[in-house]
Structure formats: structure tokens, C-alpha cells
């Protein structure tokens, strides 16, 4: 998620200048449609690999939206309360929020124990 966020922030200007307002539309689609789908898919794949499960309880796109919203909320709170720049917030995310976000990602979805009868 930090990677996605960092990439989006770095590319914002480029998108805004690309055949306006088409670039902005592409940016919004990538950030709020493609990113959640990718996040949800990655999350369910990780859960299935790490915990030996199959399938999912929560649709992967909804799961991705949830994870993205948790991440954005945490970042907005950190920026607002502490006034930190993006780089510090991202470092904080990686060092201190990885574990809680991982637990939340595990809780927010899950598969069924193999084999499914």
C-alpha cells in the first residue's frame, strides 16, 4: 500500500497534465478502482498461501476498498495531527503500522479450510 500511495503521489502532476481532464479521470479510476481490486486480490492470495485456505469470505474488491480506506484514514490522521510530510508518514506506515494492518487484513477476509466439501 505504501508503494501504491508513493507511486500515486509521485505521478499526480503527470496525470493532471495529461490531456486534461482525461488524465485526472484515469488517475481517479486507477486510485479508486484498480488499486482496491489489486489490493483485495493480493490480500486473498496472501491469506490463502499463508493459512492454507481457499476462496474468500468477503468479495476481494470490497476487501480492497476496506484496506485502502483504513490506510488512507490512518495517513490522513497522521498528517493532520502531526503535520508530517508524506515521506515520514510512509516510513511510519512501514515500521509501525505493518503488523496492525496485516492483522486487520487477515481479519477482514479469509478463506475456507481445504479441502472444501
Amino acid at each position: 500500500m505504501v508503494g501504491f500511495q508513493s507511486w500515486f503521489e509521485g505521478q499526480l502532476e503527470g496525470f493532471m497534465l495529461y490531456m486534461p481532464p482525461i488524465g485526472l479521470a484515469i488517475f481517479v479510476v486507477l486510485m479508486f478502482v484498480v488499486e482496491p481490486i489489486a489490493l483485495g486480490a493480493v490480500n486473498i492470495v496472501l491469506i490463502n498461501v499463508l493459512f492454507g485456505t481457499r476462496g474468500w469470505q468477503v468479495t476481494f474488491w470490497l476487501n480492497g476498498i476496506f484496506l485502502m480506506l483504513v490506510f488512507l484514514t490512518a495517513n490522513i490522521m497522521l498528517r493532520t495531527v502531526f503535520g508530517w510530510p508524506s515521506s515520514i508518514v510512509m516510513a511510519f506506515d512501514m515500521v509501525l503500522l505493518s503488523l496492525p494492518l496485516g492483522c486487520l487484513a487477515r481479519f477482514s477476509n479469509g478463506g475456507w479450510k481445504k479441502p472444501i466439501n
Binding site: 499526480l12 493532471m16 497534465l17 481532464p21 470490497l62 476498498i65 493532520t80 477482514s108
Partner: protein, 310 residues
């Protein structure tokens, strides 16, 4: 005791570990998180208590609507309330044969009063302003200015007729023409352009114009946009890499309690966000109810400045 807690924990886990329940929890949390993202910054900044600061409160004075004899007194009154900046529109009669035209006399009167009070002046050059007029104005009164606004909310501006929007190329080329005229005067001023919330859909405009500006302005009206303004301000800063000043903030209403409440809430918010300043619209306004002069809002804003600004 441990056994009871363990039973409860297992019960909660088993209950939530069903697809339907988990979906409902996630959907509920998504809605809650969405609201948090939208409202948290405003709630946080509004609830903060900070001491006095150098926050700069300004006001737009439409002195062309006042009588010549009124202007000096009004400028002094604005100064006495603690406003640091007076924003005005470029209005003059550039005909050299009409040097002492009433509008020009009003400008002379205004700038003489401002000189005595020591306030900064922000000049608004509107989007379709004639370059000869700009040139004349800056030659005659340019040295009294501190800020020059080139264009007003260009992303919303009309081109040749009502409803015909400026294209991006028109905005940039026209901006450059006016910028070159202003720049040729070598004035000791800061340049800015103000944008409305709608800059979001034409965000390339602030991005392009900001290259030649010292700061960018954001105009905020209505509660909905005040509440969401921290997001817009952050985004505009991120886009332009310039500091953001609230260059128009006000409410057109005859309910002066509501007007005071709206303006004071905004001033608190922007000050707590550590923005450089907020300029209120308007001091006086003949054609709508934005003007705060001779209303309870005038006193409320003045008292707020005394309590919150150095």
C-alpha cells in the same frame, strides 16, 4: 475469569467468522471510514485551541461604490479593526484627458489613506481586463501595491460570451499577456491567482499558472466547502508547491448571526491550519448581502482579530 473471557473471545470470533457477518462488518466500517476521511481534518482543526499568531486577516473593500469623502474614514475603520490587507478591484479611467475623473480621484484618495494606515493592498486584475488599462493603473498606483492577483477563478471564467468557457490554452495565453504587462513594471509585489473549488476538474490550470506565481488563492463559500476545505487546501498545495491563502471567504445573507458564525468558524479553521491568511469578502457590497460593514459581523470579526492575531 480467564475461561469466561476466552469463551467470549471465541464466541465473537466464531460469530464474525461467517461470510455474511464479515461482509456486513466490512461494509459498515467502510462507511464509517469514508466519513472519517471526509470530516476528520475539519473536526480536528476546528477543535484546536491555539494562541495568537501572525495569521493575516484581510478584507475586500469595494470603494468604488462609496462616495469620495467616505473612503479615508472607511480605510481607517478597516485598519482599526486589525485587518492587515485590503483587497480591491482594478477600476480606473485610463483616458489621459480625463486624469481627474471621479474614479481616479477615488483611487488617489484610497491609496493616500492606505499609505497613512500602513496596510497592504491586493489588486485584483479581472480576466478580461484591457492591457492598456492595466498598464495605466500600474504606472499611476502600482508602487502602492503589495499583492497583484492576475485573473479571478480562471477555471470558471467566461470567454467571449456568457457560458463560453475559456479553454485551457486561452487561459494560459491571456494570463501570460497580463503577466508580461504587470512584470514589465518591475514592482515589488507578490503575484497570485485565486481558484474556486472547481479547480479540481481543471487542475492543470493552477498547475500551469502557479509556475509564475508566489502563492495561490483558494475561494471558499458555503458550509459544505468549508468543512471539506482542508482536503482542497492540501491538494492545491501538493499540486502547485505554493503556499495557499484563502483569498475570498464570506456569506451572502441578511442573517448576520449566521454570517458571523460562518466567518468566525472559517477564520478559526484556517488559522489552526496555519495558513498565512484569510481575506473576507466583502467590507461593503451594494448588490448582494456579503458586506459586513455596519452589521454585527463587523464587530464579531474585529473582536476575533483582536483576540487571535498579533
Amino acid at each position: 475469569m480467564d475461561h469466561v473471557i476466552s469463551d467470549i473471545a471465541h464466541g465473537v470470533y466464531n460469530f464474525t467468522n461467517r461470510s455474511l457477518i464479515k461482509n456486513l462488518i466490512i461494509i459498515t466500517l467502510c462507511i464509517a471510514l469514508g466519513f472519517t476521511i471526509v470530516f476528520f481534518p475539519h473536526q480536528y482543526y476546528s477543535s484546536q485551541k491555539t494562541g495568537k499568531s501572525d495569521f493575516q486577516v484581510g478584507i475586500h473593500y469595494v470603494f468604488e461604490q462609496d462616495e469620495l469623502g467616505q473612503i479615508a474614514g472607511q480605510v481607517q475603520r478597516i485598519h482599526d479593526w486589525g485587518f492587515k490587507v485590503i483587497r480591491i478591484r482594478l477600476e480606473c479611467q485610463p483616458d489621459p484627458l480625463d486624469y481627474n475623473n471621479l474614479m481616479n480621484q477615488k483611487n488617489d484618495e484610497f491609496f493616500a489613506a492606505v499609505q497613512r494606515s500602513g496596510m497592504d493592498v491586493a489588486l485584483v486584475i479581472m480576466n478580461l481586463e484591457d492591457t492598456a488599462k492595466v498598464d495605466y493603473y500600474l504606472n499611476r498606483w502600482g508602487s502602492y501595491l503589495r499583492y497583484i492577483q492576475i485573473f479571478n477563478e480562471p477555471e470558471l471564467s467566461n470567454s467571449w460570451t456568457q457560458g463560453a468557457m475559456f479553454t485551457d490554452d486561452e487561459i494560459c495565453s491571456k494570463f501570460n499577456i497580463i503577466y508580461d504587462v504587470v512584470e514589465s513594471h518591475n514592482l515589488n509585489v507578490e503575484y497570485y491567482t485565486n481558484f474556486g473549488i472547481s479547480y479540481v476538474i481543471r487542475s492543470n490550470v493552477p498547475l500551469e499558472l502557479a509556475k509564475k506565481l508566489d502563492f495561490v488563492g483558494l475561494d471558499i463559500f458555503m458550509d459544505a466547502f468549508t468543512v471539506t476545505s482542508p482536503h482542497f487546501i492540501e491538494n492545491l498545495q501538493q499540486l502547485t508547491h505554493k503556499k495557499v491563502v484563502i483569498t475570498e471567504f464570506g456569506m451572502s445573507t441578511t442573517d448576520h448571526v449566521a454570517q458571523s458564525d460562518f466567518i468566525l468558524k472559517g477564520l478559526n479553521l484556517f488559522k489552526n491550519m496555519r495558513l498565512p491568511g484569510c481575506w473576507v469578502v466583502y467590507w461593503n457590497s451594494a448588490h448582494d448581502s456579503y458586506g459586513i460593514r455596519d452589521t454585527s459581523t463587523e464587530t464579531a470579526v474585529g473582536e476575533w482579530i483582536a483576540a487571535n492575531c498579533n
